[in-house]
């Protein structure tokens, strides 16, 4: 008899929608076998769908029953009149679903703005390409993205352009990640690019710089190598070009420039980490920068960022002879490392490449310098070998933060010393 009442009530409540507004989930605790049988019968004979999310098994063990809104009253009456104890576990199923959906959307949205991007982690090539588009979106009129060529494996070579207008203004070139294993450099590049965009109009130095000059920033200068460090070998340095005469892959992009090419401090062995390549500018990654800088014609500074060793270096690497501007570059380097150290006490050494680190022929900055770009510098970021290339991500923001004043020193000097 009791069953019929319930069935009638539930039948009356039948509906065909899929919405869960007002639906509840009841936690029911049958006290004996008879109550368990009643519960099973309830679920089986109903017209309106009730559904056990957790089935009744034995006395004292809770069962969870989803009840659509229209049938709630009838079910509760049934339970109460049979002295079956229950409580409301979920008051409104739709509310819970809405809450969940919001959380999911929020987490998707988290990466939709450069102000919520996680600068304190290392990212994949796709995440960085996405972030670049976000940066452009967030700062229209200041930041644009150019493609200067393609890598060996046909990945785009993207450069961010920071400009407040004008036509072919004197420019500063920055690059990170030319050696793919130096992950702190791409990470610092992202932070720095965001900082430049954020600080224009706020920080007097960067504002003065961008009011008269353009900045070109290539963050993933060796995308094939970078992808390889994620997929196969974290310590890969070179490009991924196939060498005609060898099983060994790749050319050292910082030995492939036409400045003392093939000389001391580079190798003619394709298996070597400092293999200079078959000829100068053989690598697309290098050639595209060469073409860009030469056709631009008004680049006044090239700053190439590497790791590790904590050094600020300037030409020459291919010879021990001092560069004509040695004194000025040395003074500027001294000031920059002083301002870097002032942030967290991180000590850098500085000097010409050949004196400070080793002979190296065919480097980016030597080529730039010999092609009229006076203010050519190479940074070697943190650390000095404790973690080396595997610098913990917790050091990304401190590294970028301390490097910023050093970069500014160089850029301000370039601004104030036109040539």
């Amino acid at each position: 008899m009791k069953f019929l009442l319930v069935f009638a009530a539930l039948a009356a409540a039948a509906r065909g929608e899929q919405l869960f507004v007002g639906d509840q989930v009841l936690r029911i605790t049958p006290s004996d076998e008879e109550q368990i049988n009643l519960l099973r019968a309830l679920a089986e004979h109903t017209v309106v769908q009730v559904d056990f999310w957790r089935h009744p098994t034995s006395p004292g063990q809770p069962a969870d029953l989803w009840v659509p809104f229209p049938g709630l009253q009838a079910v509760k009456v049934f339970l109460e009149s049979n002295n079956i104890s229950y409580s409301i576990m979920i008051e409104d199923v739709q509310e819970l679903l809405d809450e969940e959906k919001k959380t999911m959307m929020k987490s998707k949205r988290i990466n939709r703005s450069t102000s919520t991007f996680d600068y304190a982690s290392y990212h994949t090539i796709d995440e960085i390409y996405d972030w670049m588009d976000m940066l452009v979106d967030d700062h229209p009129g200041l930041v644009s993205k150019l493609q200067i060529g393609q890598s060996y494996e046909n990945r785009p070579l993207y450069v961010l352009k920071f400009s407040t207008g004008g036509s072919n203004r004197p420019a500063i070139w920055l690059d990170t990640g030319i050696h793919s294993r130096e992950w702190i450099t791409q990470a610092t590049g992202i932070w720095t690019a965001n900082k430049i965009a954020k600080e224009y109009g706020q920080d007097p130095s960067i504002t003065a710089i961008l009011d008269s000059m353009d900045i070109f920033f290539e963050i993933i200068t060796n995308p094939d190598g970078f992808a390889f460090t994620h997929s196969s070998n974290r310590l890969w340095r070179k490009t991924r070009s196939i060498n005609a005469s060898s099983n060994c892959v790749g050319v050292d992009p910082n030995r492939n420039w036409d400045a003392g090419f093939g000389g001391s401090g580079s190798s003619s062995n394709p298996c070597s980490e400092t293999y200079h390549g078959p000829y100068a500018h053989s690598e697309r990654e290098v050639k595209s920068i060469v073409d860009f800088i030469l056709s631009h014609g008004n680049v006044k500074s090239v700053i190439s960022i590497h790791s590790y060793s904590q050094m600020l270096l300037f030409p020459y690497g291919y010879t021990t002879a001092p560069a004509p501007d040695h004194q000025e570059l040395n003074e500027l380097a001294k000031k920059a490392v002083g301002d870097l150290a002032a942030v967290y006490g991180t000590k850098y050494t500085y000097g010409s490449i050949a004196d400070t680190i080793y002979m190296a022929a065919g480097t980016t900055v030597d080529w730039a310098y010999d092609n009229g770009v006076k203010y050519s510098f190479t940074f070697e970021l943190r650390d000095t070998g404790r973690y080396g290339f595997l610098l913990p991500s917790s050091q990304i923001i401190p590294t970028a933060t301390e490097t910023w004043p050093a970069l500014l020193d160089i850029m301000v000097h370039v601004l104030e010393h036109p040539y």
């Binding site: 290392y122 892959v249 080396g388 991500s393």
Partner: protein
């Protein structure tokens, strides 16, 4: 001849001295690293080799604020057929690592299965707290390999532990078989190296066997 402290000859000799010192004085609870070169001079000795006199600042890897000064003499032998001679004097006391060493020792001794691990640090530079002493032990032991294989034209650093496996022993020593990757700065090469490391809190770190492994050049 006095060298500017930032000159590569000075920093290479200093790195070698620090590696050797770390090997002789280090443990899983105490790692030392070069913080700065204060002074350096180089002397060419006819028929013998090149001798360096160095004044260095070292830091405790587990407590960056803790530094210690030391003087070192490095002699690179002509022809590089024998490993360089390194002598050093530490000014003052190094921090006591007894407690940290004993904790690690007892932890490993009480493991049911021999310890095995790989890729320390991982790609993101992370080292879990449990693996920190294993990492330090490799850092200390690699000091030996670096010392034995250095010349004026090399600068080695431990890049990563590729693989480590504890080897069961019947005596009180702990033994680990490491495959490490050494980064050689001048050539920029990554060199795999196998080393067998013995350690006991009272007996220091010993590399009993080591061998350079072939590189995977095309990978």
């Amino acid at each position: 001849m006095e060298l500017p402290p930032g000159h590569y000859l000075a920093t290479r000799a200093a790195a070698l001295a620090a590696a050797c010192l770390c090997y002789r004085r280090g443990s899983p609870g105490r790692g030392l690293a070069l913080r700065a070169v204060r002074r350096a001079s180089r002397q060419d000795i006819d028929g013998v080799g090149q001798k360096y006199h160095l004044e260095l600042v070292l830091e405790d890897l587990l407590d960056k604020d803790s530094t210690v000064n030391c003087t070192a003499e490095v002699l690179y032998h002509l022809g590089n057929n024998i490993p360089p001679d390194v002598q050093f004097t530490i000014e003052g006391e190094l921090k006591n690592a007894e407690e940290a060493d004993n904790i690690f020792y007892n932890r490993i001794k009480s493991l049911e299965k021999e310890l095995v691990a790989e890729n320390i640090p991982d790609s993101h530079g992370n080292v879990s707290p449990e693996m920190e002493p294993v990492h330090l032990l490799a850092w200390v032991a690699s000091g030996y390999v670096i010392w034995q294989n250095s010349t004026e034209n090399t600068k080695f650093q431990l890049a990563q532990i590729k693989h480590v496996k504890q080897v069961k022993r019947s005596d009180e020593y702990l033994e680990f078989d490491y495959t490490i990757l050494l980064h050689e700065m001048v050539s920029q090469e990554i060199i795999p190296w196998q080393m067998t490391v013995l350690w006991h809190p009272q007996h220091g770190v010993q590399v009993t066997q080591d061998s350079r492994q072939p590189e995977h050049a095309s990978e």
